[in-house]
């Protein structure tokens, strides 16, 4: 028996969420006294996973697997899980992870828990803690099936080094056919995506118009952050819909979320409150966001943000 983690790559490199999934898998494997098997597809440096505790690395390399297809990738994880006699399978909550996990659950006949935030509190019965009600509650779920599938919430467990000497093994899976064809991929180059960002800088109606977004972009650039916006801002067409964060928009689970000129409607908070540290800058001290934030400045964004950009530049210059 084993614990199997699917460690996703982007252009050959492991995403942070994949390293977090491996770190989590190691913890579960230790609790169950089982080996941790990490599965990689077209990874440039699979051996990197031994630093996070993988006991064995199953390497799959195939030119047909350069682009992601949920059904095909679920089929591959399924084959590796069967081959390694997996009793627990872990995937991350990247958009690809969320896409393949439900398909994989059916293929494996596995009980599936998504949005998992902690290692099992008990192995017999197998109980894990997951987020529910848009981060307003947690739920302790028992998985009763023989094979358990865990979808690890982003930025919930952390990345931990745990060096091992891992065996590496090549594997050639059967690649199933899919009638779903990818005809185009459109990615904004050069920008940090909200899903991958450690820091997100977000602007709301308080910025008064799209012409003032230079402030948000400049602050984001200093912090290496992704830019985002509130719902009214995207509804008014100031910013593209892809930047809308909050309920019905993109979820944010970054280390740092900076909300500028955003009052903090409950729908907005539902989508961003999984972020570790929240900072709010708003002229209105009664804005609901101050109740949800860790740090706040009551003040005018047009005065505070330029100063913040300047001081952060100095800070970065000294600390890099």
């Amino acid at each position: 028996m084993s614990v199997v983690v699917y460690a996703e790559t982007s252009e050959g490199n492991f995403k942070n969420t994949a390293l977090e999934a491996v770190s989590y898998g190691k913890k579960v494997a230790e609790q169950m006294d089982l080996p941790l098997i990490a599965l990689t597809v077209n990874a440039t440096n699979p051996a990197e996973l031994s630093r996070y505790g993988a006991d064995k690395i199953v390497k799959i390399n195939h030119v047909d697997l350069n682009s992601f297809n949920a059904k095909i990738f679920a089929g591959i994880v399924h084959q590796v899980a069967e081959r390694e006699n997996a009793t627990v399978v872990v995937v991350d909550s990247s958009s690809n992870g969320l896409y393949l996990a439900p398909i994989l659950a059916i293929k494996l006949s596995a009980g599936y828990a998504s949005n998992v935030v902690a290692a099992p509190s008990s192995i017999h019965p197998f109980v894990i803690k997951r987020k529910a009600f848009s981060n307003k509650a947690f739920n302790h779920t028992e998985i009763k099936s023989d094979i358990k599938l865990i979808g690890l919430a982003k930025n919930s467990f952390g990345v931990f080094e745990n060096p091992t000497t891992a065996n590496e093994e090549d594997f050639s899976p059967e690649i199933c056919s899919s009638e779903l064809r990818s005809t185009a991929i459109n990615k904004a180059s050069g920008n940090v995506s909200i899903a991958d960002a450690d820091v997100v800088v977000s602007g709301g109606r308080g910025l008064k118009g799209p012409e003032n977004w230079g402030l948000i972009e400049e602050l984001a650039a200093v912090l290496g952050a992704a830019t985002a916006c509130s719902k009214p801002v995207s509804d008014m067409g100031w910013r593209p819909h892809g930047e809308h964060v909050g309920q019905t928009g993109k979820p944010v689970a970054s280390n740092l979320y900076i909300a500028i000129g955003i009052s903090g409607a409950i729908q907005h908070l539902a989508g961003v409150n999984a972020s570790k540290v929240k900072v709010v800058i708003n002229t209105d001290p009664e804005a609901p966001f101050f109740k949800a934030a860790d740090y706040g400045i009551v003040g005018d964004a047009f005065e505070v943000v330029p100063k913040l950009i300047e001081k952060l530049r100095d800070f970065k210059a000294q600390n890099s």
């Binding site: 028992e142 779903l180 740092l256 900072v279 706040g296």
Partner: protein, 248 residues
């Protein structure tokens, strides 16, 4: 074209989330339930397919009689008929299996639903349903066109979008973008009157043993108060983020 829209009946976003005494169940007392916001985008897109391309729409939900308010609202918006599978949903797989059992008995070209429900946020049912039916599946859909039994779907990916193409039948899990917020439908009086006469069929569930069980709920620990920094002291904020929060 026959479209099924799967509707989840969920607590309104602004609801206070409380649990029963031993924290084993969600406390529904005083909670307003609505159509899951993500499913509203799916229903609005189905309405577009009905009005522009003559599709017929069945809305379907798994739940007790209380979910009928959301089904009736969907009928008032313009769905043609409704099905309720009379069971208390225990987890995502349970719902997907119940839906699959009914869908296998019905002619259907397209299943539309929301990416996730805002109660358990599982994001499981659409992909499980597609796999149980052995249909193609598009997740996180932000645009959908159907022409001659071929679907072209725009899917959100991390950092951009991907265009996918497939022949029907297809399961699509949607979100904002599939229609714009302003194109969401609100029932009018005529729709509400007509909805009363539209068929709502109640079906018995199939027997399923759930593979997961929600044992206990818990609320997040109370958050400490927001630390306010004076607007003139951005250095103070930077110091807190660096030394205390350790995020920069």
């Amino acid at each position: 074209m026959k479209v099924f829209v799967c509707i989840s009946h969920v607590p309104d976003t602004t609801s206070k989330i409380n649990f029963t005494e031993n924290a084993s169940e969600f406390d529904k007392t005083g909670v307003q339930f609505v159509i899951n916001p993500y499913d509203e985008f799916a229903l609005a897109r189905a309405m577009w397919l009905k009005e522009k391309q003559g599709a017929s729409i069945t809305v379907i939900s798994v739940g007790d009689a209380s979910v009928e308010s959301s089904l009736r609202k969907s009928l008032a918006i313009g769905a043609d008929d409704a099905i309720r599978i009379d069971a208390d949903p225990t987890d995502g797989l349970f719902v997907a299996q119940q839906l699959a059992a009914v869908l296998k008995e019905h002619a259907c070209d397209l299943i539309l639903t929301g990416r996730e429900s805002i109660d358990y946020n599982g994001a499981m049912v659409p992909g499980m349903l597609a796999t149980l039916l052995d249909w193609n599946f598009v997740n996180a859909c932000v645009g959908l066109e159907i022409e001659n039994q071929t679907a072209t779907a725009l899917k959100e990916i991390d950092g951009g979008t991907e265009t996918l193409s497939a022949t029907l039948p297809l399961v699509v899990a949607g979100q904002k973008g599939m229609v714009e917020e302003k194109d969401l439908r609100i029932p009018n009086m005529r729709g509400i009157m007509m909805a009363r006469k539209k068929p709502l069929t109640v079906l018995a569930p199939i027997a399923i043993e759930s593979s997961t069980h929600a044992n206990r709920f818990e609320k997040p620990a109370a958050k400490s108060a927001c630390k306010l920094v004076d607007a003139s002291d951005v250095d103070g904020l930077i110091a807190l983020l660096h030394k205390e929060a350790k995020v920069i």
